[in-house]
């Protein structure tokens, strides 16, 4: 163990950890929204992210004819190109998420109470999507043009505040606030919360379940799509297997924070980003995922529902 890197580069690590954490937060939405409503691990969400990341790049390269060697844009052109990429990623991910629900989950929901069946179906979808993209891309990674120059805006305590990471943080916060308002204030949002609290009663109350569930998947997909856009903006590369890496981390984040609620995803994502960054610095990058899992296990032992988890476990006798 070597704490010298941590103390030496603390501000820098913290800022980077938070930025990474926000990407986890947004992907975690895809897990947490669906879990909240259906009590189902949406395994295919990782591939929703993967599709979104390709969509982001393809919008830039096919729609706007940028190449990987294009120079950064400025001004209005930058804004509308980036907006188009964000929207493109969100549309692709959102639609993919809704289609996955219809293909992999909807039929099963009415036919079996066995939730593992849906899980395997989702794993099937996951394999199909990842393999299809692998074949389409010849297994090669796809790089993104740098459209937003990584200008350093300020240096705080030795940490560079860069425009791209700042963008992630600001936009993620805005998205989360909008989503929180939507779920808590809008009619559809109330429906989602009602279903999430009591599935059976909601059905009896005449709530259109399929509509609510599709909406939930759509929102989860949109969040995941936004995450993939921000991921590309910061890391500028994707490949067919990216879903597994990021998906597993985001799922861990969702559980760490307390799966099923948005604030939990937020807390878990940021916590995981920081844990990974600090663990890499202190123990070495090869121990980062182990550290994350060990901390997850410890947290669950003392707080069985995660940091912000509602008390799902309370026996409803």
């Amino acid at each position: 163990m070597d704490f010298s890197v941590l103390t030496d580069q603390f501000a820098s690590l913290t800022f980077d950890g938070i930025a990474l954490g926000f990407i986890y937060v947004l992907i975690a939405l895809g897990y947490t929204m669906v879990y909240g409503v259906l009590r189902l691990i949406n395994f295919a969400n990782s591939e929703v992210f993967m599709l979104g990341s390709f969509a982001t790049i393809l919008v830039a390269t096919k729609l706007f004819n940028h190449t990987i060697e294009s120079d950064p844009l400025t001004g209005f052109k930058l804004v509308y190109t980036m907006t188009a990429m964000l929207v493109g990623a969100m549309i692709v991910s959102g639609v993919a998420s809704v289609i996955i629900e219809i293909v992999a989950y909807r039929r099963l929901r009415s036919r079996t109470s066995n939730r593992l069946t849906s899980l395997i179906s989702a794993i099937g979808v996951s394999i199909v999507l990842a393999e299809a993209v692998r074949m389409a891309t010849s297994s090669a990674p796809m790089g993104s043009p740098r459209l937003l120059d990584k200008t350093i805006l300020a240096t705080v305590w030795g940490a560079d505040i860069r425009v791209d990471t700042l963008l992630v943080i600001v936009f993620a916060i805005i998205l989360l606030i909008v989503l929180d308002l939507f779920v808590n204030k809008s009619r559809l949002g109330m429906g989602i919360r009602a279903v999430s609290m009591d599935y059976d009663t909601s059905r009896l109350m005449g709530i259109n379940l399929n509509k609510i569930i599709s909406t939930t998947f759509l929102i989860g997909g949109l969040g995941t799509g936004a995450a993939s856009f921000f991921y590309i903006t910061v890391y500028e590369m994707t490949r067919f297997s990216i879903g597994f890496e990021l998906g597993l981390a985001a799922f861990t984040a969702a559980v760490l924070g307390g799966i099923g609620n948005i604030r939990g995803a937020f807390a878990g994502g940021i916590a995981l980003g920081l844990i990974e960054m600090y663990a890499s610095a202190v123990l070495g990058t090869q121990w980062r995922s182990i550290t994350a899992f060990v901390i997850l296990i410890l947290v669950l032992l003392f707080k069985p529902n995660g940091i912000f988890g509602e008390s799902l476990q309370q026996a409803r006798v």
Partner: protein, 381 residues
């Protein structure tokens, strides 16, 4: 009832799909021999396999186009880069009597399959298995007499990489990053040994599992390293280099043959990759032969990748043997192991094998430098 019938029909359909519909293609005339490729063609490692097997296919296509007496077919052995499948796939390749030689991609699955190849006396020419133990007579993994490789082993490349990386750097302070693959771990060990006191610290970021290298970069900054050596493959290597430069690192970046890929400067960015130093026992296909590169691009609508040249050359070694009339396993193996064997590779370098299966001579390491977004050969390492 109707549902049940539908369900039963589905099972039958699934079975038919898996068993009947795809009848195995077994036709093979007496004048046809096979060259097998054992490597990852599906799954997370598929990139390496895809890049390599295209080199194999291209070489065979060029050969068959000359209307030879003995036609050559390819046997695709997909081990997914998985050590567990290596043994089964190797046994399958060994069981096909038409196979007279095999290219194996990864060291792990090669070692898993080695007992089968040894038992059946099938010659291996590996385009990419670089683990030192495969050609180390004292190791349990020693591949003699069947194993050969046309990549330099890690023990040869390590010193070259260390030398190239620190060349011209005053008071080098070196930071080494590996990707935890067995290739990378072996190379790292050799590099560290060659660096001696110049080696400062290191970090390991598992291949394909790390997007954000901030913590590694924080360490590099803290150590005030002026040379960074990356021992993994090009995708992660490019991602790492890009982040490294974006965070203001000004020193040397050097990497081994895993990074030697035309995509590398593109993925890392023109500005960020400028001046990156690479070593490899071979050359990228684009540099080695623009003509073959053009054929490759025409055939596959894609760029050549890591080990494409090596796979192309390894296949040509077998094809050279077949042209010389070596169309049985025993003949092929004896041919490769004979003292008179030599082969002129795509880059025009004549290569021979040592008894251990390694290339003979140590003057095969080349160095490259990235200039203006392309990889340029920069002489011997």
């Amino acid at each position: 009832m109707n549902k049940k019938i539908k369900a039963s029909a589905a099972i039958v359909a699934a079975l038919a799909l898996s068993l009947g519909a795809f009848a195995a293609n077994t036709a093979s005339a007496a004048t046809t021999v096979k060259i097998a490729y054992q490597g990852p063609l599906t799954g997370p490692e598929a990139q390496t396999g895809t890049d390599s097997i295209r080199g194999v296919k291209l070489a065979i296509k060029i050969y068959n186009a000359t209307n030879p007496a003995v036609k050559v077919e390819i046997f695709e052995g997909d081990d997914q880069g998985d050590d567990a499948q290596g043994g089964t796939v190797g046994a399958g390749i060994a069981a096909d009597d038409a196979v007279i030689g095999v290219l194996t991609a990864y060291s792990g699955p090669t070692i898993a399959a080695l007992p089968s190849y040894k038992a059946k006396g099938i010659a291996i020419v590996s385009p990419s298995a670089t683990r030192a133990s495969l050609t180390d007579p004292t190791s349990k993994d020693y591949g003699n007499p069947v194993f050969h490789r046309i990549v330099s082993n890690d023990d040869l490349q390590g010193p070259a990489l260390a030398r190239v990386a620190t060349n011209g750097v005053k008071d080098p302070t070196v930071f080494v990053v590996d990707d935890q693959s067995s290739y990378s771990v072996g190379l790292t060990k050799a590099v560290k040994l060659a660096l001696g006191t110049a080696f400062q610290a290191g970090d390991s970021a598992a291949k394909g599992a790390v997007s954000d290298f901030s913590a590694t970069i924080a360490k590099i900054k803290k150590e005030k390293a002026n040379v960074v050596i990356y021992t993994g493959y090009y995708a992660d290597g490019a991602k790492f280099l890009k982040q490294l430069r974006d965070k203001g690192y000004k020193g040397v970046y050097a990497a081994g043959d895993g990074v030697l890929n035309s995509q590398f400067p593109k993925l890392a960015g023109k500005k960020q990759s400028e001046g990156a130093r690479l070593t490899a026992p071979t050359v990228p296909l684009e540099v080695a032969s623009p003509k073959i590169t053009a054929m490759f691009k025409k055939d596959f609508k894609a760029d050549p990748g890591v080990y494409t040249t090596e796979a192309f050359d390894a296949t040509n070694i077998f094809l050279q043997g077949i042209k010389a009339g070596k169309t049985t396993r025993a003949d092929m193996l004896a041919y490769l192991n004979s003292a008179s064997f030599s082969y002129k590779n795509t880059a025009g370098i004549t290569i021979k094998f040592q008894e251990s299966g390694d290339l003979s001579g140590s003057g095969l390491m080349n160095q490259f430098v990235v200039k203006g977004g392309t990889i340029k050969l920069n002489g011997k390492a």
